[in-house]
Point group: C2
Chain length 197, copies 2
Amino acid sequence: MSSNRDIDALIEMMAKLPGLGPRSARRAVLHLIRKRALLLTPLADLMQTVAATARECLNCGNIGTADICDICASEVRQNGILCVVEDVADLWAMERSGVFKGRYHVLGGTLSALDSVGPDDLRIPRLLDRVKTESVNEVILALNATVDGQTTAHYIADQLDGMVSLSSLAQGVPIGGELDYLDDGTITAALNARKRL
Amino acid sequence: MSSNRDIDALIEMMAKLPGLGPRSARRAVLHLIRKRALLLTPLADLMQTVAATARECLNCGNIGTADICDICASEVRQNGILCVVEDVADLWAMERSGVFKGRYHVLGGTLSALDSVGPDDLRIPRLLDRVKTESVNEVILALNATVDGQTTAHYIADQLDGMVSLSSLAQGVPIGGELDYLDDGTITAALNARKRL
């Protein structure tokens, strides 16, 4: 394409990133080459650093640069309350909201009969361990409102039944949402969980 | 966001690429970290290589890894016929079609009174030099069909008037295009340039 081997290889590899296709990868690579000192070199250096240091937290499954991530190691985060999420991206989303002050547990996926993902393929045994050893008294299941997410939530709820106080995220109208654009399931959930004023 | 400085910096820098925003940059970085050996490390290495070697061809303005690009240095490409494009991305698009066998000249932009881009800010003087010294007998103006592109084409045509045979890309219905979805200008151009069967 560019009649140059390295540049073509770079474009091909960038095109493998989620959200980029061949055309946007070409645009991105041209942009990178034009902003070499500002963008390409620092980006390459940062990638080297992250490739060398990033790892999964042995405790919760979050991605950080140490064996135990900053959240697990933090002394100011509340003990005894665990928020269970599917994925590191979900943990980051929760952290952006800034409202949860406890600790996390990242499952690394959802149970799925179709893809033959069982409890042992996820971090569910580790979750049960943590609940027992870290004197956890509340578990919040912040799983996605999808079929697989809810199946996983039910399975975990069964396993933890009677051991801790369990909750899941509320379902309802999103902030800024318009009723006309919401699906029937959301409206049903919002009506069933209506709040007294 | 990720409670980690390097990973946050990487996300922030990826979000500066065209076509990626903060959300897709986060997804891309998580994907890269998960595919460290397959994607993150090789990508970082390639970026280092390209940052160290990529440069503009001194002759035509194409991006390659030598002072004179592969196309200018090629002995099989046709001499005497130059295709003038705005941008390296346009050169790559022409090369993908594989139909042009001559050599290129990349202007590096278009004339623009608003942004005060004059002929000397582009590679127009170099184009005039090349036409004289490389015994060019045909120049194809493959500039974008925008106002600035066409202004630039007219300016270059004026400068080269009488020196070479000049042409521009045909305008008309794109292959696979449906008349109902085309704008009036394209239909007018296609009708005016209609072909006898």
